[in-house]
Assembly symmetry: C2
Homo-oligomer: 384 residues x 2
């Protein structure tokens, strides 16, 4: 299923040999139309990988025939030669599909600062083209994994006859915006590129953009939305936006649960904010506190570290009117000791921290994880 759940899409995922261990490392997703409308959202990091620079240009045209994705190398910080590698990859996909490279998006993920083994990769593209099928969604999702322990897929079939599917990867370097990730969402709805663009931005803003596992922003983040039009259905913009947002939220949750070393899924729920920006600002500040993330790992409802993080922001609040609940127990009232912290049950995997700024009616939820020794171990040894 995943990206091949909607009509009009074929995919493949295989081991081209880019990764040394023989795991799958190359995916191809092809839109057979009749429409090729597409939209994309990319990392806001100013250091952008070659495939991001390339795909941004492709998406300006609003049309995508195919997306080629590799794990085993990010092709970031590789200079003009790295950009040439991306270009050559797109040309190869265009050749095997008898199409134009200008409508081929490219995504890469893996270690920064190393060139891709191009002979291996281009041979893999030929093989992937031969393996393209309506059943290729799952192997494609598997092929884009790096430190991900599981493939992430989702799909929804709408009652009025169109379908949305998606796949994503991402386990570390997860921070806005976006989370560090590659994501391809497909639909057989018949919608123009400008509408897809608005829908994708709305969906990302409240899902992937509110995921912050380690505060580190990647060079390769890419989220693509491709529409084949093969169902012949054109849903309302609001309806399709809701379905796409559901898919993004589903995938974001999967990313969170698979974050490197994480044992807790923490929701920072900010209420009583003067505006949405304040709510997100405070949520992010709390989500980035290493000390708090360690405390939650130790199942310690350390609300003092929540307040210390809130206090670093310039959001509208009075320190003496802050309230904080952990898993529903208001352990901090009016900036001071509240209900007995011993009442907080910290054992569940899901932990909800509610921060009431007492300054308005706006809310936002930012998702993060605990900080663990496993995260340190995994990221101490990644490139060696």
């Amino acid at each position: 299923m995943s990206v091949t759940a909607p009509l009009g899409f074929r995919a493949a995922g295989l081991a081209a040999g880019i990764k040394k261990g023989g795991e799958r490392d190359l995916a191809l997703v092809v839109n057979d139309g009749p429409s090729r409308a597409a939209a994309g959202v990319f990392t806001r990091n100013r250091v952008k990988a070659a495939p991001v620079l390339w795909s941004e240009q492709v998406l300006r045209g609003g049309r995508v025939r195919a997306v080629v994705l590799n794990s085993g190398g990010a092709n970031a910080c590789t200079g003009p030669a790295g950009f040439q590698d991306t270009h050559q990859t797109a040309e190869k996909v265009a050749a095997v599909l008898d199409d134009s490279a200008g409508e081929i998006a490219v995504c890469s993920t893996g270690l920064i600062g190393e060139r891709l083994p191009m002979d291996t990769l281009l041979a893999g593209v030929e093989e992937a083209a031969r393996e393209l099928s309506r059943d290729g969604g799952l192997p494609a999702a598997d092929a884009i994994r790096t430190t991900d322990t599981v493939a992430k897929i989702a799909f929804r079939r709408a009652t009025d006859g169109y379908t949305v599917g998606g796949m994503a990867k991402g386990a570390g370097m997860l921070a806005p915006a976006l989370a560090t990730m590659l994501c391809v969402i497909t639909t057989d709805a018949d919608v123009d590129a400008a509408t897809l663009d608005r829908i994708l931005r709305r969906a990302c803003a409240v899902t992937f953009d509110r995921l912050d596992t380690d505060g580190c922003m990647s060079t390769n983040d890419t989220v693509l939305l491709l529409a084949s039009g093969a169902s012949g259905v054109t849903p309302s913009e609001d309806e399709l936006a809701q379905t796409v947002t559901d898919i993004c939220a589903d995938l974001a949750r999967q990313l969170l649960l698979d974050a490197e070393g994480a044992t807790k899924a923490i929701a920072i729920e900010v209420v009583g904010a003067a505006d949405d920006e304040d709510a997100v600002l405070v949520g992010r500040a709390v989500a980035r506190s290493n000390l708090l993330k360690c405390a939650i790992h130790g199942e310690d409802p350390n609300w003092g570290r929540v307040l210390a993080a809130v206090g670093t922001t310039d959001a509208v609040f009075d320190p003496d009117r802050l309230n904080v609940a952990i898993n529903g127990v208001w352990v901090c009232r009016n900036g001071s000791v509240g209900d007995d912290r011993a009442k907080v049950d910290m054992r569940p995997r899901d932990v909800t921290i509610t921060v009431d700024l007492g300054s308005g009616a706006h809310t936002a939820t930012v998702h993060t994880t605990d900080l663990t020794a496993d995260y340190v171990h995994e990221n101490s040894a990644y490139s060696s």
Copy 2:
């Protein structure tokens, strides 16, 4: 030595019983004059502990007779009752010294969100007053430790006859501004409060403010500078500023080397910046990358994570002109692969990461540490 190295100061440090384990937990530093000129710099966190709110008021008067400091409890997020506890502590010190509470500064450090055991603390103040001596600098420095493994002290005797001494504590929650810390600096130079204030701000800006071990800003940070005038010497402002800055740099280095779980002392040296603000901004962004800090822990010269962090800032630079050296090897040139990363010797404790923005002549160095499993362990269990 430490705070009692200069003439005119007595100190004491003892176990009052605030900490359960019987370690020292209460310090008293008294300025016997003839001058009482003083300056203070405090946390910029908007959630301020009661002793910070109190001492800010005291320092507005520019005079300090004594500083009382406790570990074993931060007295932060304790509401009006906690502020009353601080007030009562100052009144007690004033009573035993037969002086005014309005010239008694108070500092606390430890767990946020718990009231101090006031009977124990006030009895400790009486005992500390009896133990005050010219030899009390070291026990005082020992008494303000929390997770610090060693006491931090420093002193300099200037050739023209005045002396500066200092003590500090801080091991976690170290981030600007300030680093999470308490620090008392003393001098027997004869200088007015306004001059001390300028000198202290200059010194902190280039020392404690450029230390960022875990990005977490505390509620209790306090740095005090007290002048007794007992040497009769009035150095030039620039000269005294240099001596105080040396003391702060010395103490900042000690804080860095004792940071929780750290095995590496990392200097992020930003050069080629368009202005000082850009240099500090980029230094801080790199210093806060958990992924990079894990890589350095694993002795992996992962310059891609440096670029990913630089790219999150809005400093003036061209991504294709960034150069990065690690321990002197230019592993990244023009935003791409540079010299062989295998040439980098990552074994020394000190690691220098040089980021050349290629946009001007301004520089700044921010100091941080690696992120380790020990940091996680220590902070998962702090309050339990």
